[in-house]
């Protein structure tokens, strides 16, 4: 738990330095090239900001808390994760037409096949929590990328902490 907190503080510090508190969509893993529906072309949003139904709208509304993080080899929802998922559930409660895919990820310090299964377990843990908060299960898909799609590229504790994550992505 100490490691986890330290990693979050490190991460938060980095974000503050970058003067960019909510995670920008550019930092998200690339969507699967084979995904059925590609993200809509970035239509001009005008002064009113992101359009409902876009990932940007979701990320802005949940203040960047569309990503939750896990300890090594764990998939439990801790208090920080719970707070983030409550914010997501509020958004999904407000916009009943929105559906999401939760992408489960693991750090590189696990074997490939196990990490695929671990990512699936993390994505389901997040999904189950949202369902417990009243979101209809049919609105939440899951997919695991195991250790195949890291966002932090180093081979160190801080990078691994960032990569052990479940990312909620709006389905267009």
């Amino acid at each position: 738990m100490m490691n986890r907190n330290a990693a979050i503080m490190l991460f938060a510090g980095t974000a503050a330095l970058a003067a960019c508190a909510p995670k920008a969509p550019e930092e998200l893993p690339p969507p699967p090239a084979e995904a059925a529906a590609p993200a809509p072309a970035p239509t001009p949003t005008g002064p009113t900001g992101p359009v409902l139904g876009s990932q940007e709208h979701f990320v802005d509304a949940v203040n960047g808390q569309n990503v939750i993080y896990f300890d090594t080899d764990r998939y439990n929802i801790d208090s920080a994760d719970a707070a983030a998922l409550q914010t997501q559930a509020q958004y999904l409660g407000q916009y009943g037409q929105i559906r999401v895919t939760i992408e489960g990820h693991a750090d590189e310090r696990g074997t490939r096949e196990y990490n695929l299964a671990l990512g699936e377990r993390r994505a389901n843990a997040a999904k189950n929590y949202l369902v417990g908060l009243g979101v209809d299960a049919s609105r939440i898909a899951t997919v695991s990328y195991g250790k195949e799609r890291p966002v932090a590229l180093g081979s160190n504790e801080a990078a691994w902490a960032e990569n052990r994550r479940a990312v909620s992505v709006v389905i267009n």
């Binding site: 699967p32 084979e34 074997t111 490939r112 096949e113 196990y114 699936e120 377990r121 695991s144």
Partner: protein, 469 residues
């Protein structure tokens, strides 16, 4: 009219399949038949015994083996070599020399440093020439272009001191498969001198990797055991992972994200088409064949809980073999098909377990420090190779009872062992710290002769098939 209607219906039926085939490249050649042929006896007893006892690998490791160019009776044109059968004979000897040298076997000297024997000398070696060069073993061979377009190869192994023939074999192959004759010759040399089973005439499936760490392109690829005849099976528009050759080399199983989700496909090499291993919307991982090719193991996550299932390879009902909460994944059959070793985190961390082939009698076998992942049963049955996670990842072996742990490699992240067909060599992939670059490596069972395999691009998930049929 009838034909047009039929075509239309066929197109309609084919339509749903096109999506799951969209990442596939063109057909790859399946390879021709290699026919074992009788070759003329030299007059000596073909079963003549060895003159020394193989007690330790260091004994034969120092054995000097001369491998001059294969001779040809007439230098004829062949599709196998633009310069004709004489040049092809030299090429074959080079392939054999590289096979033995790269695997740390004996002290081979190849055709570029040796005199060229004549066609008649193949069956009657010029002993003085070879004993004068200090060669203990002598490989001779010939190549002949046959009137039916195929090639005939003969391969002879002689003991120079005894002036005696140890073994001889001949093969008729299509020109495109000439390298298989070189591998078969390598195999009889290796088997005769070490007493071990052959392994050169085999293929490897693996994942070819390109691109930066966060946008890695992963393609299914295949190659011969020496890296030749390299082919990409998928195009790279979808991530491909964890391939396994069927024991008859007719099919490949692997994981693909072609429909956006991780699922196991069975790719038919002859038709170039693939099918899902099971009709389910759940993600499936970790495909494995039974040694006789009749069953498939796959792991499937249902509501986040992954278990191991078995299904007949020809289709049928899946049977769930594990049912504990947590991740049960992978699975590797003992060579007799009676038991399966697999990994599970039911005890809190990844450990290796053995069960009967029907899922009964599950028991943990790994009780040393660290975690036990990706277990693979040796084709000889006497060892289980696995990824040992204790800080770093290292390739290790243990007995099927979980005893006699030996750590064979010392990389930062060495993962996913696969056995040579004879259970003497283990390949794996090594990931580089920070860059995430990957490469295939191999090490022999004694921990010696560690080397990197040459691949056109970065590489992971090697899967070594059995001896080619």
């Amino acid at each position: 009219m009838k034909k047009i209607t039929f075509t239309f219906i066929a197109l309609l039926l084919a339509a749903p399949l096109s999506a799951q085939n969209k990442d596939l490249g063109g057909l790859v050649a399946e390879g021709g038949q290699v026919e074992t042929a009788g070759i003329d006896a030299s007059g000596e007893d073909a079963e003549g015994g060895l003159t020394f006892t193989v007690t330790d690998e260091s004994d034969w490791a120092d054995l000097g083996v001369a491998i001059p160019a294969f001779a040809t009776d007439r230098d004829l044109a062949t599709p196998a070599n633009s310069s004709g059968t004489a040049a092809l004979g030299r090429e074959v000897a080079r392939v054999i020399t590289a096979n033995l040298r790269n695997n740390g076997l004996f002290k081979p000297v190849g055709p570029d440093a040796l005199p060229q024997p004549s066609f008649v000398q193949i069956r009657a070696p010029s002993w003085a020439t070879w004993s004068g060069r200090g060669a203990e073993m002598l490989v001779h061979g010939f190549v002949q272009a046959r009137s039916d377009g195929r090639l005939m190869f003969g391969c002879y192994l002689y003991d120079v001191a005894l002036q005696d023939e140890l073994v001889r074999e001949g093969w008729v192959v299509p020109p495109a498969d000439w390298r298989r004759a070189a591998h078969k010759c390598s195999d009889i040399i290796y088997s005769r001198l070490t007493g071990e089973s052959p392994f050169f005439d085999s293929r490897i499936a693996y994942i070819a990797e390109t691109g930066p760490k966060n946008k890695r392109i992963k393609r299914l690829a295949i190659m011969d055991s020496d890296g030749a005849n390299h082919r990409f099976i998928t195009l790279g528009s979808s991530t491909a992972l964890t391939p396994r050759y069927s024991p008859d080399y007719k099919r490949l199983m692997y994981l693909s994200y072609v429909d956006g989700n991780p699922r196991i496909y069975v790719y038919d090499i002859g038709t170039g088409k693939q099918t899902l291993v099971t009709q389910s919307s759940n993600p499936t991982f970790a495909p494995r064949w039974s040694p006789d090719g009749r069953y498939i193991l796959y792991s499937m996550a249902v509501s986040g809980n992954t278990d191991i299932y078995r299904v007949p390879a020809g289709g049928g009902t899946s049977v769930r073999l594990t049912d504990t909460p947590g991740i049960d994944i992978g699975g590797s059959y003992a060579p007799d098909g009676g038991k399966i070793v697999f990994e599970s985190d039911r005890s809190g961390s990844q450990q290796c377990y053995v069960m009967d082939a029907n899922g009964s009698n599950q028991r943990r076998i790994s009780f040393f420090g660290g975690r036990c992942a990706t277990p693979e049963w040796s084709p000889r049955g006497d060892q289980i190779a696995f990824t040992r996670i204790a800080g770093d990842f290292n390739i290790s072996v243990m007995s099927p009872a979980g005893r006699n742990l030996r750590v064979l490699t010392s990389g930062w992240q060495d993962e996913a062992p696969t056995w040579a067909p004879n259970g003497r060599i283990i390949q794996f992939f090594r990931t580089e710290r920070n860059t995430g670059r990957t490469a295939l490596w191999q090490v022999d069972l004694t921990g010696r002769n560690e080397r990197r395999l040459p691949t056109p691009v970065d590489a992971s998930d090697p899967a070594w098939g059995p001896i080619l049929p």
